[in-house]
């Protein structure tokens, strides 16, 4: 008999669900590391500290701590600074919410921003906004940290010297207008922006274009393609914006589109899509009202998702069928499919896919669901694919049903717009007099063949408006510090065109200006324009500018009768600002447009696959840094990227087979702390004579022969988060990651053949969290690895046959009745169904053996605990029940709906003051996120077709019988009467026994002082309702206890129950797909109790009798039986 052996020499069988290549292959480093939660050096000073330095530090810290500790009354030094005149609605201590919209890539996502005494602290989704519907994407959630970024530019500068903003306005006006205030008609003015959907900004730019015939508008949005615009132009004769209704789609085919987590509208799409994934029994749905009914689906209405994609994305991961195909081959596949579907006029090409095993069943499935399917093409696919997809959707009758075409949302006057390449050519030729850059950063994001940084030096006057003095800002003569969207008035349109008036929550921290304020001043600053001159006086304040636009616009007149009357306008304005969107501004899509007769003419032939020794390279926006604009946002740098689980870096992603071909080491050679420090091979990537050095990352599910790189890293001037003298990148530069723009060219922005990749002898350390907090454990008796079956998975046939399939105990210990009290079985089906809930209401608990002769689902069941129920330990529980005060907080996560997008992680970080620890600390397993999204694979890494990717968000499960509590020597973690596993920071002495004993590995320890108090701006952004933890303290998910107690107090004040849904945890409120529910499981009517009664609900590691309050609903998918095996 072997006890707790760590002998790695024994033959290795990979577990059914594995987290990374190393676990699959059983590399010795991994096996050694996994046995040890806190490896040898986790608690050590990892930096080489000399003895002398150590003594010096110790001396200093003793001196300091004595000094600080001697103050016996540290609290007694505070002051109270009341308002002089208290603003309306403000009650000190009670937060307020304001509606706005967070611009992401030019499109607005509706948000509600929580403000504590005038400080915006937390961003949440706006349930009424069509681009949000209550959820919030990763980037919107993290945007509040950008506001407080200490590296933001703080002043206007002219050639590096501080200057007043008026001087900048005067300088521009001097070039644009003559002494009489008349525009100089022949000024060759250029302005450069990203995608602009703001009606006010577009109107102001339009005025400039009208006043200066030589002016041109350059648009450059590096992470968005022009495929949709040009494809619809080809298909319909004019460009359109395409929106989808995934709630109505039975079958969805994505051609390289990550529509659930990336791009405009993804938050909304995620929400809609999930309504067809949240599987529930008839019983569950029966008594819901119509609105709620639409949020769930019964077994016969589950949707089905096919994804053909290159780089594995969250969308591909949750697909029923995923085909890994190089992005360049997607078009050929699409053509073959269009022909198979009999789309009239479908172009030739793609014959190699005619006999593909996917084609026939996929085409049949789509044809069977005419008008109830969606085909969606990725943003980075060429226009020809988008034109083809438009034709396919038209042929399937989806246009007007599930796919909608409307007037373009983004402002783009075609005859006046130039692209970055053209602009750069003009600048290089000295044909530009004046360049104004608004928020765009082409010096970093320009394709490698567009030498913007050189050309900009040839323009006699350049001005940059941006939040940072970035790569472009430093090249321009003038730099204006831009106001953040939470600081300035503005407006923006959502993915479907719905406009939002953005209201500021705080005065600009550094007196920044917005683009509209600057332009308005340039166009007619009241003090510089001569009276009676051709340019009218106009407002200077952002509020007045936006308001003036909406007063003039025709857009809402039809929906708001009597609009022009001032008092009616006031009503309209208040309503628009308050609700966070302007009703009636969504362009009407109406009847589906007819295909242009010549839509298929002149489509270029599909790209050929990479041949010979060459590889294909694919470029993608980074899942968290987007095009690089968020490179200085610590939350976004540290959140593990949804599929790859990398933090702080990008990498060259290759499939295992390609890795073998490149002789890349597949086992990652973990070193350092909790196998978060992967030593990987550095690749040299050469394309068209340009080269970068990039760390290779072996990614199962990636197509062979392709190297995918993420844009957005390698920024030299983003700020201190992104610039790292101590941690050089693979090429030795002091920046985070490598700059993939250096390989990108303007003619092949998304994929290119002819990449030469060679592995070098160098290695590089990546911080990857995929192996951290592993729940693997060995049976102490047999020495066998327990198969935890963390994510339970089944297809619809299995579910119909046995809805309780997920409850099968994975190990010899039975799931007891007590477990099921917190994981209630189906109503009536098992002994602890509905009746349990009723008894609960009466404050009684069924004891074992009292059931009416009905056995549990497992014959091995027998009571395994000698302890009383938790509630039995609370005196007077019956009375609490009677008074509606007996709350049993619990959570359920529907894994069928989860897309792994990690919005919950960032939401939690913002709500709970969770610090950013930095790459070096992540490599030691010290990342502090309270909720993590585990990513498991099932299947063989070499076979992308059969590989399943599974996500599992996991926070503290608040065990009823918590293993952490019994081992704490100081009582720092104890149970509250309502079932919370409380963490008492002030009692914690940092033994870390609790974490050691936690089977879920959800506890986080502050090894160092991670909170950054050195920047006052960061202090403004902290949540005042949550303790800011210091060094040496354990912490973990609290179920957002501050929100619970807040809601409880409001309810108790009014002598009523806490209503179901009255309190949302941060993760629940953010979740774009609505996969998380929280509430009182003691109330049988509550949503969370209903969810937990579903048969496919299961408790993770419930076999340990921990009785988790957080349970998961198993993944149920709806694969097409006609599809080839293993697809």
């Amino acid at each position: 008999m072997k006890f707790d052996t760590t002998d790695a020499a024994t033959a290795h069988t990979p577990p059914a669900q594995w987290q990374g290549m190393d676990e699959y292959l059983g590399s010795p480093e991994f096996l050694a590391a996994v046995a040890n939660e806190f490896p040898e050096d986790a608690a050590e000073f990892a930096d080489p500290v000399s003895r002398r330095r150590f003594l010096g530090l110790m001396g200093a810290s003793i001196a300091l701590s004595t000094g600080a500790g001697c103050n016996l009354r540290p609290a007694a030094q505070r002051q109270i600074l009341p308002y002089t005149v208290q603003p309306d609605q403000v009650q000190p201590g009670v937060p307020l919410f304001f509606a706005s919209a967070c611009p992401v890539g030019g499109y607005g996502e509706g948000v509600l921003v929580r403000s504590h005494e005038g400080r915006p602290v937390k961003v949440e989704g706006n349930p009424d906004h069509p681009s949000s519907r209550g959820g919030a994407g990763l980037l919107a959630l993290a945007s509040v940290l950008d506001l407080y970024d200490p590296d933001r530019s703080r002043q206007v500068t002219h050639r590096g010297q501080p200057a007043p903003v008026e001087e900048a306005v005067a300088a521009v006006r001097k070039l644009l207008f003559d002494s009489q205030g008349r525009p100089k008609a022949n000024v060759r003015l250029r302005f450069l922006t990203g995608t602009v959907t703001s009606p006010t900004l577009a109107a102001l730019l339009g005025e400039l274009l009208a006043a200066f015939p030589q002016a041109r508008w350059a648009q450059h949005e590096p992470a968005a393609g022009d495929g949709v615009r040009e494809g619809t132009r080809k298909a319909f004769g004019s460009p359109r914006t395409v929106t989808y209704d995934f709630a109505k789609a039975d079958v969805v085919l994505s051609l390289d589109a990550d529509f659930l987590t990336c791009g405009p509208g993804s938050t909304r799409y995620s929400r809609d899509f999930a309504t067809r994934r949240r599987l529930r029994t008839e019983d569950f749905i029966k008594h819901l009202d119509a609105d709620d009914k639409a949020k769930y689906v019964t077994a016969d209405r589950l949707n089905r998702l096919y994804v053909v994609e290159g780089m594995p994305t969250p969308t591909g991961s949750v697909a029923e069928h995923r085909l890994a195909l190089p992005s360049s081959q997607v078009e050929a596949f699409a053509r073959a499919l269009a022909r198979k579907l009999g789309v009239a006029g479908a172009p030739a090409g793609g014959a190699e896919f005619d006999n593909h095993p996917w084609l026939a069943p996929l085409a049949d499935d789509l044809a069977e669901h005419k008008g109830k399917s969606v085909v969606v093409a990725g943003d980075h696919q060429p226009a020809s694919v988008h034109a083809l997809v438009a034709a396919v959707n038209a042929a399937l009758g989806n246009a007007g049903q599930t796919v909608f075409y409307s007037a373009p949302v983004a402002a783009r006057p075609d005859d006046k717009v130039v692209d970055l390449k053209k602009l750069t050519e003009e600048m290089a030729a000295g044909q530009v007099d004046l360049l104004l850059v608004f928020g765009s950063n082409p010096a970093y994001t320009a394709p490698a063949d567009v030498l913007f940084a050189d050309a900009v030096k040839r323009v006699p006057f350049t001005l940059h408006l941006g939040t940072h003095v970035d790569e472009t800002g430093v090249l321009c003569h003038w730099h204006l510090n831009e106001a953040h969207y939470l600081e300035a008035w503005g407006d923006v349109r959502g993915h479907d065109g719905t406009a939002t008036v953005q209201q500021p929550l705080i005065a600009p921290l550094f007196q920044g200006v917005s683009a509209i304020e600057f332009l308005s001043a340039v166009l007619g600053a009241a003090d510089t324009a001569p009276p009676g001159g051709p340019v009218a006086r106009r407002p200077r304040e952002g509020h007045d500018i936006v308001r003036a636009y909406w007063e003039k616009t025709d857009e809402v007149r039809k929906t708001f009768p009597g609009f022009t009357a001032p008092e009616t306008f006031e009503v309209f304005w208040q309503q628009a600002v308050r609700s966070g969107f302007v009703d009636g501004t969504r362009p009407v899509s109406g009847k589906a447009p007819d295909l242009a007769p010549n839509w298929a003419e002149g489509l270029p032939a599909p790209a050929a696959p990479a041949s010979g020794d060459a590889y294909e390279i694919a470029f993608r926006p980074d899942p968290t840094l987007y095009d690089g604009r968020y490179a200085n946002n610590g939350w976004l740098q540290e959140v593990p990227k949804p599929v790859t689980k990398l933090t702080w870096d990008n990498a060259a992603f290759v499939s295992p087979k390609t890795a073998a071909r490149l002789s890349v080491d597949k086992t990652f050679r973990w070193t350092g702390g909790e196998h978060g420090r992967a030593e990987v091979t550095v690749l040299e990537l050469k394309l068209n004579g340009r080269a970068v050095r990039a760390p290779a990352w072996v990614l199962p599910g990636h197509p062979d022969g392709v190297v995918t790189v993420h844009l957005g890293y390698g920024r030299p001037r983003a700020g201190n988060v992104s610039t790292t003298p101590a941690e050089p990148n693979a090429a030795g530069d002091p920046v985070r990651g490598f700059n993939a723009y250096a390989l990108r060219t303007s003619d092949a922005p998304w994929f290119a053949a002819g990449l030469a990749a060679t592995s070098t002898k160098d290695t590089y350390f990546l911080a990857c969290t995929q192996g951290q907090w592993s729940m693997r454990q060995k049976d102490v008796v047999t020495g066998h690895e327990w198969d935890r079956k963390p994510v339970r998975y089944g297809d619809i046939a299995l579910y119909k046959n046995n809805p309780s399939f997920a409850k099968i105990p994975p190990t010899a210990a039975g799931e007891t009745d007590l477990i099921n009290e917190n994981v209630p079985g189906p109503k009536g089906g098992h002994s602890h169904g509905h009746s349990h809930g009723k008894d609960e209401k009466n404050g009684k608990h069924e004891k074992n053996g009292k059931h009416d002769g009905h056995e549990g689902h497992d014959g091995r069941l027998h009571p395994l605990t000698m302890y009383k129920d938790n509630e039995a330990l609370v005196p007077g529980w019956d009375k609490l029940v009677k008074n509606g005060q007996a709350r049993r907080w619990g959570m359920a996560i529907d894994l069928s709906a989860c897309t792994g997008c990690s919005a919950c992680v960032v939401a939690c970080q913002g709500e709970n003051n969770i610090p950013v620890v930095g790459k070096d600390q992540v490599t030691k397993g010290r990342a502090m996120h309270w909720i993590r999204v585990d990513r498991y694979y099932e299947g063989s890494p070499d076979d992308a077709a059969s590989l399943k990717t599974l996500f599992q968000p996991l926070a503290c499960v608040h065990c009823e019988k918590a293993p952490c509590e019994v081992v704490c020597p100081v009582g720092a973690t104890v149970h509250s009467y309502d079932g919370l596993n409380d963490m008492v920071y002030n009692r914690c002495v940092g033994t870390r026994y609790c974490s050691n004993n936690c089977p879920y590995k959800v506890r986080r320890f502050n090894f160092l002082q991670y909170q950054d108090f050195s920047f006052s701006t960061l202090n403004l952004g902290r949540n005042p309702d949550v303790t800011v933890r210091s060094r040496g303290v354990m912490e973990k998910c609290t179920f957002c206890v501050q929100r619970l107690r807040g809601a409880e107090i409001v309810a108790e004040r009014e002598f009523r129950r806490v209503r179901d849904g009255e309190v949302l945890t941060a993760c629940q409120s953010a979740c774009p797909s609505g996969a998380i529910v929280f509430g009182d499981i003691g109330d049988p009517e509550s949503a969370v109790a209903e969810w937990k009664r579903e048969p496919h609900n299961y408790g993770l590691l419930a076999e340990l009798n921990t009785m988790p309050r957080l349970t998961h609903l198993a993944v149920v998918r709806n694969p097409n039986p006609a599809m080839p095996k293993g697809a």
């Binding site: 009354r73 109270i80 501050q1042 107690r1045 108790e1052």
Partner: protein
């Protein structure tokens, strides 16, 4: 090696060894006493304020209700210190020129806050909530003392955790009818102006004295109009029931106050 200590040291050494428990004990007692002393807790310490505001005058003599200035005490965790505007409501009319009020006028004119020195300090990690205490019938005087007799505000209670817990363990000792929460002179046996025992009014009872049963029928609380008990023991027990104040175990859960 020669002896370091002379033999005469032996009794001293013995005394020290035997006296160790006493020394350790008295050190402990001394530290505990110091910890609870006015010096450490701040009881009785008069902190100089930018304006010599007297609660004794405003609340005691003029009889202004606490909530005229501390408006958020019923809705927020924080009982706000009033904005300068509240001061100026009256002081635009009376004592317009008083030197004492210079800082107030200056604050109002310039829009800068009056920097009051905080008297009642609770540590950052303790999340005390005024509104729930007021709603459940804990009087201002229980924690703040006789504000109506204080010129400059002083702290009268230790505000130590043991002091919080004492009440959370036995809340009934400090509960009073909700109409008496801001009263500085309330006692359970206090007689009304007519010389009789006071009676429960709608404002004393939850939901304005209305009870709703399972079927949605509304009835009046039977306590309405009845005479109040005149001992704290009876009153506390009754109000604890009526105000649904939870029991000691629940109220001493860590996460009640620490988040």
């Amino acid at each position: 090696m020669p002896q370091i200590f002379p033999k005469a040291m032996n009794p001293i050494a013995r005394a020290v060894i035997l006296g160790l428990p006493v020394i350790a004990g008295s050190t402990g007692v001394g530290l505990a006493a110091f910890y609870r002393s006015g010096y450490a807790t701040g009881i009785g310490e008069i902190r100089p304020q930018p304006v010599a505001f007297s609660h004794a005058h405003h609340s005691g003599q003029l009889g202004i209700d606490c909530r005229y200035c501390h408006t958020t005490v019923e809705y927020s965790h924080f009982a706000n210190v009033p904005p300068t505007k509240t001061c100026m409501n009256c002081h635009q009319q009376i004592w317009q020129g008083a030197d004492m009020l210079d800082p107030v006028r200056k604050s109002y004119k310039e829009g800068t806050a009056i920097p009051w020195e905080r008297v009642h300090n609770v540590p950052h990690y303790a999340y005390f909530n005024h509104s729930i205490h007021v709603a459940k019938g804990v009087g201002c005087v229980s924690c703040h003392g006789r504000m109506d007799q204080m010129n400059l505000t002083v702290q009268t209670q230790t505000l130590l955790m043991e002091w919080c817990l004492a009440c959370h363990r036995e809340p009934e000792k400090h509960l009073r009818p909700r109409t008496e929460v801001t009263s500085m002179t309330y006692t359970p046996d206090q007689k009304g102006p007519d010389g009789n025992r006071k009676r429960f009014t709608r404002d004393d009872l939850p939901n304005r004295g209305r009870l709703v049963d399972d079927k949605g029928r509304v009835t009046d609380n039977p306590l309405l109009g009845t005479e109040r008990p005149d001992t704290q023991a009876e009153m506390g027990a009754l109000l604890k029931e009526e105000y649904r104040v939870r029991n000691a175990v629940v109220l001493t859960n860590c996460s009640m106050c620490h988040r």
